[in-house]
Symmetry: C2
Amino acid sequence: MKKEETTEHQILDAAKDVFQSKGMDGARMQEIADKAGINKAMLHYYYRSKQLLFEAVFKNAFSLLAPQLNTILNDDSTVEDKIRNFTGDYTSFMMKHPYLPNFIINELYRNEDFILKLKDNTGFPNLEKFKASVDDEINKGILKPIDADQLFVNILALNIFPFLGKPLVKALTKKDEKEYKAFIESRKTEVANFIINSIKQH
Amino acid sequence: MKKEETTEHQILDAAKDVFQSKGMDGARMQEIADKAGINKAMLHYYYRSKQLLFEAVFKNAFSLLAPQLNTILNDDSTVEDKIRNFTGDYTSFMMKHPYLPNFIINELYRNEDFILKLKDNTGFPNLEKFKASVDDEINKGILKPIDADQLFVNILALNIFPFLGKPLVKALTKKDEKEYKAFIESRKTEVANFIINSIKQH
DNA sequence: ACATTTGTTAACCATCTGGTTAAACCTCTT
DNA sequence: AAGAGGTTTAACCAGATGGTTAACAAATGT
């Protein structure tokens, strides 16, 4: 039997759907069981409680994002290349997992100490190398002076917000679903240009 | 009796606290009643149902944000001034209402058609004048070419994201509460500079 | 073949939750 | 002082919800 067909994995899969679209509070154990096509008691057999099942889903979701961040933050390319790669890759990834950003941001907000459990985990993103690269390129006169933390948050903001605020963005800019998708698609390069424009010395 | 002391207003006030910190699904009518110091039946007497009480809270919250956006979008200053004013004002405002961004973004996400009810409402932000200003300044050679919608979303993203993703930002940049506040404080000018740097012709 | 462990189910349970009701309580007006 | 209208409360209710149990089935080991 393949791993994807085990009951335990089917539960996690269904739980992912339900938790990510409805949140911890809005999710119902019965709905997860129905979606997985199994008896509700199995949820408790494999994961003991709603809280633990939720944590399994959350850690899974987070571990999907973190490595992407790490790879790009820690490679040896220039800051400009890091930004261009990140912006393209991250946006592509988000388009495939539209619920992910909201789920993570929101559950993290509602349970602030939850992030401590993640920090211990291997693969929690580390900014040191990125910051060193930024400072180095500033000293060499390639980049204008900027605090590396501020730059990093700006990069995250510009890439993640359009997904977090999708309904708001659609309403304010008066775009339908198709136009919104095109808008996001063009951000893959637009955002990188916007950032590079701002920080590159010329 | 002052307006703030009426039962109806006390309910709305308590409901605001509970809904904004726990969301629609996590909020409990009993908790709202307790916080307001009144009997639970009064919630239904004045607002009929949880859904309607929630909508009252939500519209209230949204109507706090929308005018701010409008004022700045529709005044007659230059795009640079709009951006500088908005960035400073909005960040100050958010620091006083830290739950607001998450509440609005999240509930809007979970109930997409909900924004339609707001659109009819007077004071829903309109971008036309802002877009005209941007296009005008591009033609005059003051700004580099950029799609006004993209610029607008960038402005929102850079201003709102640090609040939405507070726990993530704190964890990734390894800041405690005090350092985070200083970080946000310095964004009041940093973000405007970052944007202007990127779009201004030189 | 038999016993032990592991997986699965239907039925059940205590508690919680949004919402209702009927009676009591003001606070005016006449 | 009595009636009328809105306001407030305690008690209640039906349905939902996370979780448990006991019996049963399917593997697994010996």
